[in-house]
Amino acid sequence: MERTSKVKSLQEAFAVVKDGMSLSMTTTHYNSTPLAAVRQIARQGVRNLTIMPTPSAGIAIDLLIAAGCVGTVFASYVGMEFLGLAPNFRRAVEAKKIRLRESDEASLVMGYRAGASGIPFMAMPKYYELTDLPRANPESFKKITDPFSGEPCFAVPALQPDVAVIHVQECDPYGNARQLGGNHMEGIIAKAAKHVIITTEQVRPIEETRAQPTRTTIPGIVVNSVVELPFGAHPGACPARYSYDRPHLEKYAELAKQGRSDEYLKEFVFGPADHGAYLDMIGAARLMALRSEY
């Protein structure tokens, strides 16, 4: 019998994302953010998502907030790094249009670790007492007693998002993925999530995986579908493939700051019928100029 390929179209793969679900998407600042997937989710008009991001996220969440898709954010860092604050996130929090689970780097990483292993929670150092996090987010930071030492510590909950989207450079049809450049916590998020979608610059043959299995960074056994999306992280960067499109990011940030994200969404998210049409809009010359081996 033939093995079943997990390769799907963008629309097919993302039909699993429904109102009210928890969604994780990987990124560290502008690196390998699955922005083609984010545009698809926005086009689907999904509502009331709970975003469980990586510790340093920004544009993906800001764009989904602008598109009205977000109900709750586990916020460790939601910003535009060298372009400043994330304007839609900022306004939505100030106007109480979204719910926050005030978080930090360690509580997300350790929460995913617990989720990946099926552990109910993670015990964290007692020093959170010195911060305002337990007061701002008593749902996540609960003071408990270490049963071994009798000392206080904090429990943070396991994170098991309904769907995780991970963008990589190479993936075979069975979901064995290779990350080039950064390797942050994608493997752990893939194990923690209930459903994993890999978006990849290129689908590569299984023979390449088998020739160098140590280069696989996410095992296909935890992956549900694979979508081929060249320049799928644009306008962000995809290490070893292309750099970030700074003028486009500046345009996003500027429109967002001015409260004109609807114009951006109309032009770049709802305008193009699919990812191919989006790339046509950006233009071959521009995309080729972004290519980088680093």
Binding site: Y77, G79, F82, P125, L130, L133, G182
Partner: protein
Amino acid sequence: MSSATNEAAPAEVIACVLARQLEDQEIAALGAASQLAMAAVKLARSMHAPNLSWLCGGSGAINSQLPLLLESAADPRNLFGAEYRYSMEDAVDLQMRGRISTAFLGGIQVDKFGNLNMVCAGDYDKPRMRGPGSVGLPFAASFRRTIIYIQHHDPRVLVEKVDFVSGPGHSPQRAKWAVPSSRGPYLIVTPLAVFDFDTPDKQARLVSVHPGVSVDEVLAKTGFKPLLADPVTVTQAPSAEELRILRSEIDLNGVLRRLIRH
């Protein structure tokens, strides 16, 4: 604009102040958009601390050799010449357990006890301004020492008391809760001045003003009333050798010369 090309830019002064604090054998860490701290660790390694190791934010690079200061510490080009690419979970393990000896941190607010805030200005439930979030600032309770640096010396940044504690500074209860090896904030370095915490209750003390800056200007632009060292000195200007290394080995694109303007 400086008339003499040899005159140090404000960001070069800060980079040199930060670099001089670092000792050989240390492990230093820095976060996003940290060109000043990045310049400092590279300068210290070149000048006096060849065994200093450092973690370059989201890039995962340990001991990057890139001769440029990129606008993003997470840029994978920082892996140039590095010795290891750490993952996010490596980063948490190394930081939370207390292996980092010096971390360079900042915030949207810094108070006189070195508490750091990246969450909000105003009341948490009704913020005037929502910031990005706490990210790695709670590790201020596990880093052995924290050097705080900011790029804008402004009374809205240097405040009496932060509106949200993301990174804990000095307090009477600190010793009870922090990682035992964590000694807390060590310095605040700004475009105008240097503060330490060498006072009985560990509140900030103005120790030096940068060349050309007056004590009165610093006090007028600081939102808390710092104690004053006796005397308040002038920050040691970058040496010719420090400037040569910065400009010819670390910052080939001249980022520091444009970063902060008075």
